[in-house]
């Protein structure tokens, strides 16, 4: 299918202009990844558009940020903050207020493209250490000033938008160091603002400076790995692509130090205790609504990439792929690190994009009974001890074959690994041309996986010209995560958001959760009471009231902010 397009889409390759809205919305101001010709011809087919539609849209995004509504915080507060963090770490420039006042939800992306910034913080602060954070929180508590913690702002659920003004606390700027590595206990103590690649690189090698004798890995590799912070992983309960083996962020956290309006909480670094409900776990997933994570003790693992065993299978059907994945994680022979099954549409699109839907590959698949529209790709890796990894790969393939699967060697896995992080930048090019790419993900049990998958697909397919790639990743004995990537050319912005709401409603109605690993933020908070139940949500409210009696901590995240700040 990868044909000569006959035209060159006017991809934007220049870095975002300094101080523009575009700069604020991009993941990295100068990183690009253009959709391949195969993608473009797919867009042309699916969205009934013509080459002349491939011109950049949203001219407002390129405007310089200026003249936005000024903040309303009293000058005396600004001086007080400057006395804490230093003048150079306080900013009320329009540019900073926009840039650090937005995350990476599609909602925020579109608003920025339109040059709309209705909700901005008054000030942006870059604290230098945890003591400064404590002083800021205590000052804000006293003066009822909202605080929004900002790791790297890759939240896709509107986690960092200052709907109530106040200050943004940027943790990435200074609080970004690996403080300690304890090889005996297999833990690292990390500041929350450390970026994924810095953390991993330090563990892999530089940790030797901290006295480490061998290379380590953190085991957490979300797709946003290159653009997110360790603190964001923990506070928003993220999952990395190798979570089936290493665990979710939730599982990786051994201890935390948290600055809250009512004081600092420090938990012990025991691997387990029976000292009542675990404070360490109560804090996880609070998304800044209870306080600021200022230090975290994480599990680490021996870094032995040479032991990785890769495997991949083409499965005859989605159900075969699902059963295979289930039997693999329930097989009690150890768990794969990466495990991912693509549904028929994701499989077909993936093959088409690589040209594998024609030629020798296509013939081979046909011969083996792998029919387009039914066949599903499964990829996986196994890590850890070499023999254990081999056993996992071996047994996984065996299960796949017993379900009619055809082994593809580890080639497909390697292909996937290549694009795993860089592909995120494709979103920008797609959005540039007036199309939208958005993702939703949800927790399912094995028992309701098909129900959720079918219901959601049906709702998506009911909208003409909507591509939907879906897969399951992050596996547990009890179920998995279903992930939906929707690509469409909406009639209007409103039409897109109405469509997305229908999909969310379908997920919840079919028995999925609002989120498996993106968090709640401001996007799903209104779904929480219905989903969890009102007595259940009351527990979160009670904790919120306890930690943050004046509702200054990231107000409106997780729970409705009661419109007005309390007190």
């Amino acid at each position: 299918m990868a044909e000569d397009l006959g035209f060159e889409p006017q991809w934007r390759t220049e870095p975002a202009g300094e101080g523009t809205y575009r700069e604020a919305l991009m993941f990295t101001a100068d990183a690009h990844r253009h959709p391949s010709d195969a993608w473009v011809s797919m867009f042309l087919d699916e969205f009934n558009i013509a080459p002349h539609d491939f011109v950049p849209n949203f001219p407002d995004g390129d405007r310089l940020i200026e003249g936005v509504e000024p903040g309303t915080l009293d000058e005396s507060h600004r001086a007080a903050f400057a006395a804490i963090v230093g003048e150079e770490n306080v900013s009320d420039s329009d540019r900073d207020r926009v840039r650090f006042g937005h995350g990476k939800s599609i909602d925020e992306d579109i608003a920025l493209r339109l040059g709309q910034t209705p909700n901005l913080p008054d000030l942006v602060l870059h604290p230098r250490d945890k003591h400064e954070v404590a002083r800021i929180v205590s000052y804000c508590h006293e003066h009822r000033i909202p605080i929004v913690p900002f790791g790297a702002g890759t939240s896709v659920v509107i986690g960092t938008r200052a709907d109530h003004g106040g200050v943004i606390l940027v943790l990435r700027t200074h609080m970004n160091q690996l403080l300690e590595i304890n090889e005996r206990d297999q833990v690292a103590v990390v500041q929350p603002g450390m970026m994924g690649p810095d953390y991993e690189r330090t563990l892999n090698s530089v940790a030797r400076n901290l006295g480490a004798t061998e290379p380590w890995t953190g085991g957490h590799f979300p797709q946003s790995f290159e653009i997110a912070t360790v603190g964001g992983w923990v506070t928003a309960l993220g999952s990395g692509q190798a979570s089936t083996y290493y665990g979710d962020a939730y599982d990786l956290v051994i201890a935390q130090e948290y600055v809250t309006p009512i004081g600092t909480i420090t938990t012990h670094a025991y691997p387990a205790t029976a000292n009542g409900p675990k404070i360490n776990d109560i804090l996880k997933g609070s998304e800044g609504a209870f306080g600021i994570l200022v230090e975290v003790t994480l599990k680490i693992f021996r870094h032995k990439p040479q032991n990785t065993a890769r495997f991949a299978l083409m499965m005859p059907s989605w159900d075969d792929a699902v059963q295979t994945a289930r039997k693999i994680v329930q097989g009690e022979f150890g768990k794969p690190a990466v495990l991912r099954i693509s549904d028929p549409e994701e499989t077909e699109r993936g093959l088409a994009l690589k040209g594998f839907d024609a030629g020798a590959a296509a013939k081979y698949f046909a011969l083996r009974g792998m029919k387009p529209g039914s066949r599903c790709l499964l990829i996986g890796t196994a890590e850890g001890h070499r023999k254990a990894a081999e056993l996992i790969a071996h047994e996984s393939l065996k299960i796949g074959r017993s379900h009619g699967g055809v082994s593809l060697t580890g080639f497909a896995t390697k292909q996937w690994e290549k694009g795993r992080y860089h592909d995120v930048h494709v979103r920008n090019d797609i959005m540039d041309f007036g199309m939208v790419i958005d993702t939703l993900e949800t927790s399912v049990t094995w028992s309701n996986l098909h129900q959720v998958h079918q219901t959601v697909r049906a709702v998506i397919e009911a909208r003409p010209g909507t591509m939907c790639l879906s897969h399951a990743s992050h596996f547990y004995e009890q179920g998995t995560n279903l992930y939906f990537i929707m690509i469409l050319k909406p009639e209007s912005i409103d039409e897109f958001f109405e469509f997305r709401s229908r999909v969310v409603e379908a997920i919840l109605a079919a028995g999925g959760s609002p989120s498996h690993h993106h968090g709640v933020g401001r996007l799903f908070r209104d779904h929480l009471p219905d989903h969890l139940g009102s007595v259940e949500t009351g527990v979160l409210r009670a904790l919120k009231r306890h930690f943050d009696p004046h509702n200054i901590m990231n107000p409106g995240v997780l729970l409705a902010a009661d419109e007005e700040l309390q007190d």
Copy 2:
């Protein structure tokens, strides 16, 4: 050493008299396990006692329970409860109030032996289902009547004592069924009052009646397995002997239904979500202080005992045993199910008791450089997939050998398995003769394991004539649990409790936790604020106030009951 004693200790073999204090204190009224001759001669040696000391003590324990202080609850309440649970499920007999008003702490054991029952519930209720529990809780909330949930009452931390009167809710009597088994999701839904062996036996076989197609196991085997309930495991955060592989009770719980004074909480059965702090986890370990667990969804595993690989090693020193265990659980080749390392004293006592400290075995050990007083026993099993289990056993032995260990084949492990549950009954015989056997256990990281072990041992050894068997079991990448079994013949009851307090203080001062798996109860509650910190304990207090605004739920457990019940 197992010599002819030359006298026959007057072990008590008759079942406890019906309606006596003794009946209330025994684990099972008619189960016995007498210390072997080798044990007795060890007692004679260590405690400087003579055969004539081996006569039953505590005559008061054999008295019929009668004439205890009557309850003070109004007759109208009794009628209200009878209307809920049925007349036959309400009792205010002295016998029931004593029997269900006590757990299995040494404190309670001794009090009963002395016929002392200062704190008794007014009524004992046996609810028939969760709806009755909800009605009871709501009634008690309205009328400010304390409720103490009672699974099987094997708490060793005074978890079930009705210090504030009120009602005991016995869950074991009627609420003891496996409700559902879902093989696809690998979960079982269980009522809290189901006893360990009933649960396991049902999963192993009878679950077929619920439509199961193969045998399952719950994977949770505390030493108290035969005498405790599933609900007790969860609410008090227990650990089974195979927890290194299957996880602690905390890890096994996928979802819960909890009746609290402010309403019923039901959590979803997803394996993972990012919907804010996890309510399911917040409830775990609340020991009845927040509400009553009425249904629990637990992970289950394929029951394949034929795959179990056993291994055992004699290690030249405690440090070698510790390093070996650490490297095993950090080896990333899968984890053993059982893993246990005995310190030199436990090892020596164990060998002596089996006669292995003399003869051919002794010579063999000497030849291999395994010196008494230094050598340490390591035992383990690996379960799950056959090849994975073999690999774990193989790699574990390899690590042990590299630390100078000598493989003992699986014999030592099998020996240990034999006594694993039945040995609990030995406590009664020991207590009968005026000696005391008590246990303390604590969480440690690898980094502070030696510190805790040495400090605590030193405090114990400073008391002449005190045997202390200690071991580590329940392993994690980040640390383990240290377990101390103390056997002594105290000068007086007070002297024993003073001694035990010193040991607890030593554990905490050295950096251990109050409990790794016994829970907090009323025994450690006053240590919690110091240990966790006051802001941290404040979180538990806030949750308590939220769930239980009138402080009727197991008052005095986890947190001080503020002397008077709140209003």
